[in-house]
Amino acid sequence: MPETLLTEGVSELRFRDPAQARALAGALGRVVAEIGRSPVSVMHVCGSHEQAIAKFGLRAVLPRDLNVIMGPGCPVCVTDIPEVDEAIVLAQDGVRIATYGDMLKVPGSAKSLADAQAEGAKIDVVYSAAQAAELARDTNEDVVFFASGFETTAVATAAVVLSAPPANFSVLSAHKYIPPVMEIVAEMPDTRVEGFLAAGHAATITGSAIFERFVERHKIPVVVAGFEPLDILGGLVKLVELVRDRSPAVVNMYPRCVTPEGNRNAQDQLWRVFRTVGGNWRGIAHVPNGNLRLRDEFATVDARKKYQIDVRRLWTHAPSALTQVCICGTIMAGTASPHECPLFGKQCVPDSPVGACMVSSEGTCKIWYQYGGHPDL
């Protein structure tokens, strides 16, 4: 029964059809009921999934016994404090910082880039890596592209690095790589994650086969899903079916964009420019191979090699006591929800965020704060 719904639902072009969405939600409820446990917990690892779930009001139609957890899928949220500090120090030294809009308000140890901008630093909001390089071409000033994002956006950065950018342009990479963090979350002692919904756009690059090894090792199913409401609901139905049938497998529910092998050309560019190194993901953990850094042969484009960045001079004050209370990490690990944080909606609001999850439009706390987080409207 769900099978036919899925083929009809996902091959239809109208991926936002309310009637089909309700039919898929009904199917989801039936499969979860067949499992006969509560809650059944699955995790997605992509802010765009949470955005779409919130934007289309999908939480209002999800079965009560299904717990869809948002994992560490917001690249802005997991950008570590010292990485933000590096950008702020460069900005204070008069370098022009070009970055994505949602990086502006991420709190560093003492302030955010938006604070630095209000104090006179030159910060430009760009929509793409190419636009940052364009900005450098139009000026004599040094421009540093403070680059964040997962492998999807890292590919765009790589393409710019490979396209002979002007000499006054360099990259401060805060790019992160998703597959290693899934291992971390799956191995966390208190995780209850029974299945992963993988991000369709990242998989267009990496391919769906990249998850095979993970599934084999952890015996947890992975479903690759797109971002329209029917994509997500269809992906969830497939995922809980795999949970019900105890069949850990990789299923690609986004075949209109994703192939098993992915985009070879993009992968080639990505790995020519970047290598993986271990590093801290804010609030999560040290993630082995979780950070993407420029390879040595691109030293002239690497802001960390081009400038002496000493972030210690920002550390004139002890970090705010509030940051000690913030439970962003536990929220991103999927073991707590925003309402369990004593700061949520009180001291921590989008206007003055304490944790990074309240900053980005893809952060769990901000999404809950804005869209309500409660489906009973």
Binding site: A54, T152, Y371
Partner: protein, 347 residues
Amino acid sequence: MTATLTAGVEAVISLRHGAGGRAMRRLIAETLAAGYADTPVDGIGLAAMDDGAALRIGDRWLVVTTDSHVVHPIFFPGGDIGRLAVAGTVNDLAMMGATRPLGLTCAVILEEGFRRSELERIQRSMQETCREAGVTIVTGDTKVMGRGELDGIVINTTGVALADSVVSDAGLRPGDRIILTGSIGDHGMALMVKRHGLAIEAELSSDVAPINGLIQAALAAAPGAVTAMKDPTRGGVSSALHEMAEKSAVAIVIHEAGVPVSRTVRAAAEMLGLDPFQIANEGKAILGVRPDAAERVLAALRAHPQGAAAELVGECVAEHAGRVILDTGIGRRLLVESEGEPLPRIC
């Protein structure tokens, strides 16, 4: 508490304080509008934080509003700073129910080096917009500042009008219907695309226009039935609805399927990760109307050339007062209010 958070950082004004959202409202309430409570106003004053003031004169109302205009770029698809300066003030008066302005003042501050030809072009545009609105500029002021002391040109306009009755933005009651006079997001999206040099190969044009004639038609269609009005400028429809819901102590339910958004605005917003509900408009209004008069007001709006795309988009309910709820057709959620300038997200 926030003081500890930002220890060592002196509080300064940032751009989000001027973007029409929550941050701006809080700043105004805490600083610029604070301290006048002991001299009460007979009518609608600063404390109401409405589109303008309404002062009682005998059995009529003197409606006053003022607005400073800065826009980058000063000439944009569909308009320019001059048209914006006239339309913005005429519309703020209209939102209070004063659709026949007595006159406007105009104060201009120019940067040394500003081209005379551009000033003349702006002046012609102001004249033309005044004609459309049936108003004239009755007095003004001009200053020139040194190069780099401001960015090109700032125009302030003040409008005055007499009205027999005043419509506030706080008069919604449960059961009232919500009408939008046309498509949303056109102005902000046209500017954003032009300002950031985004390669969108489609016609995007600002909706900037004086709509006092349109509002007059709506008010005349059902006297006393329009309970609240607001023009969704900075902060977009979302901010305007939030203000109306909070001040009126009702919840507003909006049915997304009924909200007019042009295909181009929808596509551009989707691409940039922006929400059309948060994007500025300069020629639209949100009307709260008593349920029995909603169809009449809608028909009157649609009969006017500026209101052909008007739609009934929602209603007010008593439960969840102060909230704005969006029914997406699949489920319900809260509508997002912008806190500052809408920023595109990264993926």
